[in-house]
Amino acid sequence: MYEKTLAEQSRMLANGECSSTELTKHYLDRIARLDTDLNSLVSVDADSALQGAEDADRKRKSSAPSNAEMPLLGVPMVHKDIFCVAGGRTTCGSRMLEHFNAPYSATVVNKLNDAGMVMLGKANMDEFAMGSSNENSYFGAVKNPWKRDCVPGGSSGGSAALVAARLAPVATGTDTGGSIRQPAAFCGLTGIKPTYGRVSRYGMIAFASSLDQAGPLATTAEDCAMVLQAMAGFDERDSTSSNEPVPNYMADLDKPINGLKIGVPEEYFSAGLDDGVATQVRAALAEFEKLGAKLKSISLPNQSMCIPAYYVVAPAEASSNLSRFDGVRFGYRCEDPVDLDDLYTRSRGEGFGAEVKRRILIGTYALSAGYYDAYYLQALKVRRLISDDFDAAFKEVDVIAGPTTPTPAFQTGAKTDDPIAMYLNDLYTVSANLCGLPAISMSCGEVDDLPVGLQLTGKHFDEARLLHAAHSYQQTTDWHRRMPAGIE
C-alpha cells in the first residue's frame, strides 16, 4: 500500500478497499522495520495511532462522510517534532526539550486531527529548525533514503526522509529559509511553503517568527493540496495569520496550464549552481513549455543579498525567541546550579547544541546597541529591496522558476565544519521567506542517483497556482513516482 499516493489511499479508504487500521498498521510495521537505520522519527506512539485509526474507521461506518467532506479521514501522517501535541513530548530536536510535554496542541495539529488524520509519530529535525542537513539534531542525524551516506536536507529532514522511504504518505514541516523545500528536493518529494500568514503558527515552536511557516511534504502536488487545504486558515490565536479566504486548492488542478507565464531569473543560473542540477532544471522548464507555459527571462537584482539579509534577520529573531529556554520553568535545567547566573549559563550551555548557540550569538550581536543599525536595520532595508524585486517581476510573470538548491544532497559530515558553505544551501530558498511568498519544490530529475528539485515561487496567496502548475508537470513526468531503493 505504501506505493500509493495519499490521494489514492484516500479513495481506497472511501471505497472500503482498506481500513485506516490496516493502513496504519502497515505504516507502523514499515517504521519498525526501516527507521532504525534512517532515524527519521524521534517518537512513535503505536497505541494512540491505532486508537486514532479505529476512531476513523468507526466514524466512516457511522456517519459515512463523503470523500469530498473528509478526504483525509483515516489517512496516516507524521508531524515534525516542532509542533506541540498535547499529551506527548515535543522536543524540537533539542536536549533542551527532551522531556517537554506541552499542555496544548498546535493549531495545525488540531486541524489535521479534526480532518481525521492519524498521527503515527513525530519526525526528527535539526535542533530548533536550524540547519540544512538534519545533522544538528540532539537525537542523531537522519539518513537520506536515496543514499544512506548523504544528508536528507533540513531542517525538516526527518519529515522528508520518512515520506521518501514511504513510512507515511505525508508529513508536516516548517520552513524558515527553505526547511520544507530543500529537504523535499534532496529526497525527491513535493513540498510547499505557503504564504506567510496562510497557516497558523500557534503551537509551532518559533525559530524566526517573521519567516516561519508550516506546510506539507508529500510525494505529489495533489497530496500537498489536500493536506494544505486542511492546514490553512485564519487563527485568532496567531495575530500574524491572515483572514484571506482559503480557496479550494483541488478545484483547478486538472485544468491545462496554457499561457502560464514563468519567469526565469538569470541570477539563479550563475556561479554556485551545479551543472547537473542546471541541466535537469532546464529540462523541466522545457517540459513546462510543452505544457503550454511561456518562459520569460527576468532579473532579481538583489538576489546576492538574500543570504546575508536572512542570516541577520533569522538569528536576530531567534536570539530573542530562544530566551525563554532558561531552565527556570520548563525544559532542561543543569544539575545543582550555585546561583542564578550559573543556572542560566549551564542550562543554556548544556541544553543547546552548537548551531543553535552560534545563531543566538550572531543574533544577539546584530541587535546590540551600536550594531543594530548596521546589521538588523540594514537587513530590514535589504529585505524591502528584495521584496520590491519580486513585486516588479510579478507584474510580468505568474510564477518564478529555478532550482531549489545549488546541488543535490551532499555527504553527511561534508559541511559540518563550514557554516558558510552550509548556509549557501539556502541560496534560492530564503527569498520566499524574506518576502512572505509561497513556494513549492518538486522533483524534476536526478544527478548521480540523487533527486533534483525545481522550485516555483508565486504571488502572495497564490498557492493554488503553484499546486496547479506542479500537478500539471507531474501528469506528464514520473520523477515524483520514483522511489529510493531498499525500502520495500
Binding site: F83, P103, Y104, R201, S210, S239, S320
Partner: protein
C-alpha cells in the same frame, strides 16, 4: 551657589482590564501564586500573544484626556533581558512607535497657581511577574500571576522643578486615570507606581545635570521623600566637588534614603526590536471617534462648568473634583431640586465627607445616596427644618432607609414658624434673665447669642432662626 531641581516622572498605570494584555488569564489581585498564569504568560514554547482590544481603547482614552497625539500605526517591541520573573526572556513593550505621543496636563499647585507639564509619550507594555525572596531559605520563588498584566507607561518631560510639583503632577495623573476609568489607582496593590528621574543644576544653567532614576515609588509620600533626599544628596556631592553618577536607585522608606541599585555601566543592553509576533497596531479615525464618544467629561472641563453653571468657588469646585464619584454625586444631589448648588457643595464637602472619613467608607458606598440627601437639603432650603436640625436628620438617615421627611415627621422636628409660639418662648427667656437683659440694653450686644441659644434650647432647636432673631431683637429693645 543656588541649585535648580529638575524632575521627570515615569508612571506605570495598570490598566483595569479583566484579562491580561496578551492572554485570556485573569488580572485579579491576590490569587494563589501562579494560578493566574496561562501558557502565554508562562512563555511556553509555541504560544503567541494576541492584543487585548480593551487596552487599546484605554490607551486612546488617556491620549484624548491629555490632548495627545494618537499614533495611527504603533508598534510593539521586545525588550530583551534575563530574569526569572520575566518568562519569555523579553518584555513586550513599545519603543520607537508608542500608541500615545506628545501630550500635556495642567497641574494645580498647592499655592493656587497652575503649571503645564508636558508628557513625552505613553506606551503599552506587559508587567513582569514577581520574585519572592523571603519565602524559601535557599532559593527564590517566582509568582507569574502579575506577568502579562497590562500597563500604560506615562513618561513626562523633565518639566517639574520641585518635589511639590512632582507630587502634584503624579496626583493629577492618578486622579485622571481613575476619572477616565482606565486604572483603579490602588497604590498598595501596585496598580499605580512612579519612577522619578532627578537631577540638579546650578540655577540659570540650561544644560541638564546628570540624573539618577529612583525606581518603584508606590506612594505620594515616598515620591516626595525620595526626591527631597535625592536632591540633597546630589547637591552635597556637587558642592563637595564630586559628581553625580548616572544610575538607578532604590528608595528605602524605613531609612528614608535612596541607594544605588545599578550603574549605567551595569545597565542591560535591551536589544529592542519590533516584535515579529504582533503586526503594527493600526488605529483609524472612526475608532478614535468612538472612544471619544464614550469618554466621561474630563476633570478640567467639569471643574470649569461647575464654576460657571453652579456659581461655585474655585476651592469648592476643586474639592468636588477630587474623584469622579464625588463630582457625580454632587450633580445627582441637584437632580430635580431647586435649592442653590452651593448648599449641596457645602454639605458634600463638610458633613458627608466627614462622615465618610469617620466610617472609612467611599462615596459610592455612602449610606445616604444622592437623591436622599437632595430631599433633606430641599427641606432645609424651604424652611421646614434648620440647617442644624438637618445635621441631626442626616445622622438619623445614616444606616437606615428612612427619608428626611419621615424622620422630620416621626421626631417632630419640623421648624416652629408660628410667631406667637416663638414670642411666648422669648418672653419666658427674657423674664427669666433680667440682669442679662439690662446688660444687653446697656450696650453689651454680644449677649444676643446668649438669648438666641436659650430660646433655641427651649424650642429644642426647632425655632426658625430668622424669625427668632428678628422677634428677639425687637423684644429686647422694648423690654
Amino acid at each position: 551657589m543656588s541649585w535648580e531641581t529638575v524632575i521627570g516622572l515615569e508612571i506605570h498605570a495598570q490598566l483595569a482590564t479583566r484579562s491580561k494584555i496578551f492572554s485570556g488569564a485573569s488580572t485579579a489581585f491576590g490569587a494563589e501564586p501562579n494560578t493566574q498564569a496561562c501558557a502565554v504568560d508562562l512563555g511556553l514554547p509555541g504560544v503567541l500573544p494576541v492584543v487585548n482590544a480593551g487596552v487599546v481603547n484605554m490607551a486612546v482614552r488617556f491620549g484624548l484626556a491629555t490632548d495627545a497625539h494618537i499614533t495611527k500605526r504603533s508598534q510593539f517591541a521586545r525588550k530583551n533581558y534575563f530574569y526569572p520573573d520575566l518568562p519569555k526572556g523579553y518584555q513586550i513593550s513599545q519603543m520607537a512607535l508608542p500608541i500615545v505621543g506628545e501630550g500635556a496636563v495642567t497641574v494645580s499647585l498647592p499655592d493656587g497657581t497652575e503649571k503645564k507639564i508636558n508628557i513625552t509619550r505613553a506606551h503599552l507594555e506587559e508587567d513582569a511577574g514577581k520574585s519572592v525572596h523571603d519565602l524559601f531559605d535557599d532559593c527564590t520563588g517566582v509568582d507569574l500571576n502579575r506577568a502579562g498584566t497590562p500597563l500604560l507607561e506615562i513618561v513626562s518631560e523633565p518639566d517639574m522643578r520641585s518635589a511639590v510639583e512632582a507630587v502634584a503632577y503624579a496626583r493629577q495623573i492618578h486622579a485622571l486615570v481613575r476619572y477616565i476609568d482606565i486604572c483603579d489607582g490602588n497604590m498598595q496593590e501596585g496598580s499605580f507606581r512612579c519612577d522619578a528621574n532627578v537631577s540638579v543644576r546650578p540655577s540659570g544653567q540650561t544644560e541638564l545635570g546628570t540624573r539618577a532614576e529612583i525606581k518603584n515609588l508606590n506612594s505620594f509620600r515616598f515620591l516626595e521623600r525620595a526626591i527631597l533626599y535625592e536632591v540633597d544628596r546630589q547637591i552635597d556631592l556637587l558642592e563637595s566637588g564630586q559628581s553625580v553618577v548616572q544610575e538607578t536607585r532604590l528608595y528605602d522608606s524605613d531609612k528614608d534614603e535612596t541607594r544605588s541599585m545599578r550603574s549605567k555601566e551595569e545597565a542591560n543592553d535591551y536589544r529592542y526590536f519590533p516584535d515579529p509576533d504582533l503586526p503594527p497596531l493600526v488605529i483609524d479615525n472612526a475608532f478614535i471617534d468612538s472612544v471619544k464618544a464614550e469618554m466621561p467629561e474630563l476633570p478640567q472641563l467639569r471643574r470649569a462648568r461647575f464654576i460657571n453653571d453652579y456659581k461655585l468657588s474655585s476651592t469648592d469646585a476643586s474639592a468636588l473634583m477630587g474623584d469622579k464619584a464625588t463630582a457625580e454625586y454632587f450633580e445627582a444631589v441637584l437632580e430635580g431640586q431647586t435649592f442653590p448648588a452651593k448648599l449641596a457643595a457645602n454639605w458634600i464637602i463638610g458633613e458627608l465627607s466627614g462622615r465618610l472619613n469617620k466610617e472609612n467608607c467611599t462615596i459610592e458606598n455612602a449610606s445616604v445616596q444622592a437623591p436622599r440627601l437632595g430631599q433633606l437639603l430641599a427641606r432645609i432650603d424651604d424652611g421646614t427644618i434648620s440647617g442644624k436640625i438637618g445635621k441631626q436628620v442626616f445622622d438619623d438617615m445614616w444606616g437606615t432607609d428612612a427619608s428626611a421627611d419621615d424622620i422630620i415627621e416621626q421626631k417632630g422636628l419640623k421648624q416652629i414658624t408660628d410667631s406667637s409660639a416663638i414670642e411666648a418662648m422669648i418672653d419666658d427667656v427674657i423674664a427669666a434673665n433680667p440682669s442679662q437683659v439690662a446688660e444687653y440694653q446697656g450696650g453689651k450686644e454680644k449677649l444676643l447669642s446668649f438669648f438666641v441659644g436659650a430660646v433655641m434650647k427651649a424650642s429644642k432647636g426647632k425655632a426658625n432662626p430668622g424669625q427668632l432673631n428678628q422677634i428677639l431683637r425687637d423684644k429686647l429693645k422694648n423690654a
